[in-house]
């Protein structure tokens, strides 16, 4: 049994690494999100012989093709199918990680992660704390596709991130596109904490952008301002960023300047970046696909009210999924669409 010494070693390497922006020297190609995930997993397996990928149907490439070609390249012992049992997958991953490995577990849909909830909440999240740091399963990363896909109904559409945000000891990360997905996933895999990494499945094939081919990472717990503005701050994550960006463009045509922030890491989240933006704009809108009640938007709202109550010019707006199970034919009504966001932007700015 060994500790996660690899992480410490990697950390040392990083301290000797030049910090630079992506525009500098890396060659990149336009690829979609699942290919970016595939690249990240390939690099994770390549750079650490003690890393493993497992889950339902991952050996042939996974139902979303994220693990395509990896079993052929790294062998069936490092990329392997598991029985159809989510609590088994995560429970197995915790044990594997606790022995000093990087355990990259795939849950086929976030909708099916709940059998593993006990393992994630009671084992993974508390493993280090309860042992007084004698043991840890920091090498565990649980990947799961989440969110709407246009035809997924109740059980192929949910966004369960808020459940996991309520658990000290876990990190929750959601990328908005291919480039982010690769860099954030590599950070998650190499982070010494158990992490739940939700992938926006609607964007697996839909989102295409230039992605550096090299090994790179984005820092966790750092939000990114992806559009600067002065009238209102918009905060979101994952696939919802695309919808919010369109709303920003439409708002601009009506003379409203929106600042858009991708939270990227939901826990522990970057309060400072959001607070600084809200202090500048005086207004905040949070949007997510998950139902509004108890969603992570509520946490952001409460925190920002605590931090900059006197700077707020209007109540914080939340444009979220409805408090219903995710519906099939009613999906367009359920979703926090561009027009709902635009209406909320205008209502907030004109409050």
């Amino acid at each position: 049994m060994r500790s996660i010494t690899m992480v410490q070693k990697l950390g040392k390497v990083l301290t000797n690494t030049r910090r630079f922006s992506s525009a500098n020297s890396i060659s990149s190609k336009p690829i979609n999100l699942f290919s970016a995930i595939n690249q990240a997993l390939d690099l994770a397996l390549d750079t650490d012989p003690r890393s493993y990928i497992f889950g339902e149907d991952v050996r042939f490439g996974g139902v979303f093709r994220c693990t395509m070609g990896l079993a052929d390249k790294y062998g069936k012992h490092r990329v392997f199918n598991t029985p159809l049992c989510e609590q088994g997958i995560v429970g197995f991953g915790i044990g594997l990680a606790a022995m000093g490995n990087r355990a990259i577990a795939e849950i086929q849909f976030a909708d099916y992660i709940f059998p593993a909830f006990d393992q994630i909440v009671n084992e993974a999240a508390k493993f280090r704390y309860r042992s007084g740091n004698q043991f840890n399963c920091g090498g565990l990363t649980v990947r799961a596709p989440y969110g709407a896909v246009g035809h997924g109904g109740h059980y192929h559409s949910q966004s369960p991130e808020a459940f996991f945000c309520h658990v000290p000891g876990l990190k929750v990360v959601i990328p908005r596109g291919p480039k982010q997905a690769k860099g954030l996933l590599l950070s998650c895999i190499r982070d010494p904490n158990p992490i739940v990494f939700f992938e926006p499945k609607w964007l697996y094939r839909l989102a295409v952008e230039e992605v550096p081919e090299d090994d790179y990472m984005f820092p966790l717990s750092q939000a990114e301002v992806i559009r600067e503005g002065s009238d209102i701050t918009l905060v979101g994550w994952g696939a919802q960023l695309q919808v919010m960006e369109q709303a920003c463009v439409d708002a601009a045509q009506e003379g409203i300047s929106c600042e858009l922030i991708d939270l990227r890491t939901l826990v522990p989240w970057d309060k400072e970046t959001v607070e600084a933006s809200v202090r500048k704009t005086g207004r905040l809108l949070v949007s997510h696909e998950a139902p509004i009640t108890g969603g992570f938007g509520a946490e952001i709202s409460a925190s920002i009210v605590e931090r900059c109550f006197l700077r707020l010019e209007a109540p914080i707006a939340r444009v979220c999924g409805l408090d219903t199970p995710f519906p099939l034919v009613f999906e367009p009504f359920y979703m926090p669409t561009k027009n709902k966001i635009l209406d909320a932007i205008k209502a907030t700015v004109n409050y």
Binding site: G11, T17, G91, A98, M99, S131, N133, Q134, F135, M217
Partner: protein, 462 residues
């Protein structure tokens, strides 16, 4: 109409066959007075108590041979994923229970007499005395710590009384390199591996020397140096963890296995079933040791499952399994030794169901006389006590005297009392430990990142 008739005939035939099965004389218990173990309410009587099956004394590893089917149309084979399946024209349901309950491997009878002249894995004097003194130590520690809770000195306690043989004998059959994923009634493994009475006391008092930094209830021990993963209160969650850890041992070609312990109640949890299935499919060296002690708090095994205990669940997952008398230290030692060897050499999981009895209340928060007869508890506490049974065997070998017994008990008692007093005096952990060990930062802060070879190492982008 013809089809209906043939179905009727088939059903009639089936009923006749099942009736015949029921009519087969059962291997009845030769010692009915000892048949007090509350297993499941299977219609088939128990046969393990006090019965030595001459035909099953050896640790047969040849039980995985080809499946036998009577009345098979041998010329008709269904080519099916997982292997060819023979076809039969006879409709026959598999019975919900075997003709007789799975036998229980035993070496010593209740009087400490070997029940066979066949050789079993000999335990020499030194090892035997070490095992015995650990069993006694565990019993005394449990008794005094239990009283300490009753006096309000610690908040909670839970004893292993009645299960000392499973604790100590299984530990003795393992090596320190075997990785333990315990439930919570197995402190004897830690004791065997060298965890001191002071270390036990420190954890129970949650003082600054508690490795868990006072964060968990008493009895939630863990020791990295002793390869004993920290206890969590959740039932069965450790079982799939042990499978994943075993996969790591397999990939690293270690000559070691993982060993996970759990009770009969845990076998109802999904984690148990998932773990056994994962272990069989991934072919990993893990021992699943079920302490079937008859009771999950107040729920008897008859309300826990209808199978013949736990051992029969192993083959359903493709796992070699054995039932052993958990109150017979020699039987446990021998079974675990052989199971360990098979697990490591053949890279396979093994299920061991150890039949025992929870002599204690579930914990200090429980009064088990509310739901089970005092006579039953007393019977197991006295007649079937694993420690005295082992002592009788030591006596027969001339390895132990009353004087040594008295000295051992007196010495352990003093040590336990001293450990409690010292742990009680020790300070509580620093309040800073409330916040540590939650989320180590990674990667290092941006201002720590200096110049380096950017081409060959991961880059941090902004």
């Amino acid at each position: 109409m013809a089809s209906l008739l043939s179905r009727f005939r088939a059903a009639h035939h089936l009923i006749r066959r099942l009736s015949e099965r029921r009519a087969v004389p059962l291997n009845l218990n030769q010692n009915p007075t000892s048949n007090l173990l509350p297993l499941s309410s299977s219609p088939v009587p128990a046969t393990f108590n006090g019965v030595w099956n001459q035909n099953s004394h050896s640790m047969s590893t040849e039980t995985q041979g080809g499946l036998q089917h009577p009345d098979i149309c041998t010329d008709q084979v269904l080519d099916f994923p997982g292997g060819p399946v023979l076809l039969t024209s006879e409709m026959s349901f598999i019975s919900e229970s075997a003709r007789q309950r799975t036998s229980c491997y035993r070496v010593l009878d209740d009087d400490g007499l070997p029940v066979t002249d066949k050789s079993f894995q000999e335990v020499g004097k030194e090892l035997a005395l070490n095992m015995y003194s650990n069993m006694v130590t565990l019993q005394i520690m449990d008794t005094i710590f239990y009283e300490a809770q009753r006096q309000g000195r610690i908040s909670f306690y839970l004893t292993s009384i009645g299960e000392e043989a499973i604790n100590i004998a299984s530990a003795a059959a393992l090596t320190i390199h075997d990785v333990i994923f315990p439930q919570y009634r197995e402190p004897g493994i830690l004791l065997w591996r060298g965890f001191t009475l002071q270390e036990f006391a420190n954890q129970c008092f949650g003082n600054k020397d508690d490795y868990g930094k006072g964060r968990q209830m008493p009895i939630h021990y863990g020791s990295r140096s002793l390869n004993y993963f920290t206890v969590s209160s959740t039932i069965a969650t450790q079982i799939p963890n042990a499978v994943g850890a075993a996969y790591s041992l397999k990939m690293d070609n270690k000559q070691a296995c993982t060993v996970t312990y759990f009770g009969d109640g845990a076998t109802s949890e999904g984690d148990f079933h998932g773990a056994l299935n994962f272990a069989a499919v991934t072919e990993v060296p893990v021992l699943f040791i079920c302490r079937n002690n008859g009771w999950a708090i107040s729920t008897p095994t008859s309300e826990q499952f209808r199978s013949d205990g736990v051992v029969v669940k192993g083959p359903a997952y493709g796992i070699r399994s054995i039932r052993v008398d958990g109150n017979d230290a020699l039987a446990v030692y021998h079974a675990v030794s052989v199971a360990r060897e098979m697990a490591i050499k053949e890279s396979r999981p093994i299920l061991i169901e150890a039949l025992t009895y929870r002599v204690s209340h579930h914990s200090t928060s429980d009064d088990s006389t509310k739901y089970r007869p005092v006579e039953e508890i007393e019977h197991w506490r006295t007649v079937r006590d694993p420690t005295s049974r082992f002592r009788k065997w030591l006596d027969r070998n001339g390895w132990w005297t009353d004087k040594e017994e008295s000295e051992l008990r007196s010495e352990v008692r003093k040590k336990v009392l001293h450990a409690i007093q010292a742990a009680e005096r020790q300070e509580k952990p620093s309040v800073a430990d409330l916040f540590t060990d939650t989320m180590p930062a990674f990667p290092p802060p941006a201002n720590d990142i200096g110049d380096g070879d950017a081409a060959s190492t991961p880059q941090i982008l902004c």
